[in-house]
């Protein structure tokens, strides 16, 4: 069910009924199974993902910060509240907090970054701003088997 629905989700009035038909089970069972998977956190979302450039988000970057270990959780939670942040990870390195920022334009992006940096109380010298210059691959389909 997950394999099929990742790639070929049916855009129909009753998508769960469509999936049920493909799988040979009832619509109710499809909905119950999906409900469990959403509840357990296996499924993050069922719906559309939008191309940021097509919805006006023209500036984006990857940021790395050196955050003192005793503050990393607080800073990460603060960063996570920004809707401009889509990915935020703690990683094993001196630069231990990595997050992506998207904005409508460069000015907006830099304003948000500065606000985050000041809010986190991190000196500029402990921040890396790493915009992409070329994209070679962007594919997040996870093989389940």
């Amino acid at each position: 069910m997950l394999e099929k629905a990742q790639d070929e989700f049916p855009l129909t009035i009753r998508p769960w009924a469509s999936m049920a038909q493909e799988l040979g089970i009832s619509e109710k069972e499809v909905m119950e199974r999906l409900d469990v998977l959403v509840e357990r956190g296996v499924i993050r979302k069922i719906g559309p993902s939008l191309d940021p450039k097509r919805v006006g988000l023209r500036a984006s970057t990857l940021i790395a910060m050196k955050v003192p270990e005793n503050r990393i959780e607080n800073v990460a939670n603060m960063v996570s509240k920004y809707k401009e942040v889509s990915h935020c990870y703690q990683r094993e390195h001196d630069y231990n907090l990595w997050f992506t920022l998207a904005a409508h334009n460069q000015i907006e992006l830099e304003k948000t970054l500065e606000e985050i940096r000041l809010g986190a109380n991190i000196p500029e010298s402990n921040v890396l701003n790493l915009p992409s210059t070329r994209v070679f691959k962007i594919d997040v389909r996870f093989q389940l088997t």
């Binding site: 009753r14 357990r40 979302k45 069922i46 719906g47 191309d51 990683r91 994209v135 594919d139 996870f142």
Partner: protein, 155 residues
């Protein structure tokens, strides 16, 4: 994208409801039919405003465990060759060239997923030998704080 498209995306971008007819609520609110909602979604997908419509999994609970960002220092005249080679592997889910700074010279970034760290490390070491790059760092993730769609509409 017109105003109705915008409203549909605003309503559904965080997920469609697990109801038998998921598009009925937004259709009623916008005074259109569910069929029209679907037609608009299909068109937006054709126009590639919608990159993908379907299920999005949370990778750390779907059996894929080790997430590593590997950053490589690649001579600029070899970036295309090396990046294209690394991108061939299905374990490499993303590959970007990024700006460098005076002190941070890594220019090629790959995100690699694997079942466990040891497997990822071995895999990366093999890649490094194959592309003859010695300067690289494997940055394993310790915690995931945020993972959501980059593209969003806001009022």
């Amino acid at each position: 994208m017109d105003n109705i498209d915008f409203e549909i995306l605003l309503a559904l971008q965080d997920g469609i409801p697990l109801e038998r007819e998921p598009y009925s609520t937004v259709a009623t609110r916008l005074a259109i039919t569910p069929d029209e909602v679907l037609e608009r979604l299909k068109r937006l997908r054709e126009e590639k405003v919608i990159r993908k419509f379907g299920l999005f999994l949370r990778k750390n609970t779907a059996g894929v465990v080790a997430n590593a960002m590997v950053v490589w220092e690649v001579p600029s005249n070899r970036v295309q060759e090396v990046a294209e080679y690394l991108s061939k592997f299905r374990e490499v889910t993303h590959c970007y060239e990024r700006r460098t700074t005076a002190k941070w010279r890594y220019n090629v970034y790959t995100v690699i997923h694997g079942a466990e760290r040891k497997i990822v490390s071995e895999f990366v070491n093999k890649l490094a030998k194959a592309v003859e790059i010695e300067d690289y760092l494997i940055l394993f993730s310790v915690s995931e704080f945020v993972r959501r769609s980059t593209g969003r509409v806001e009022r």
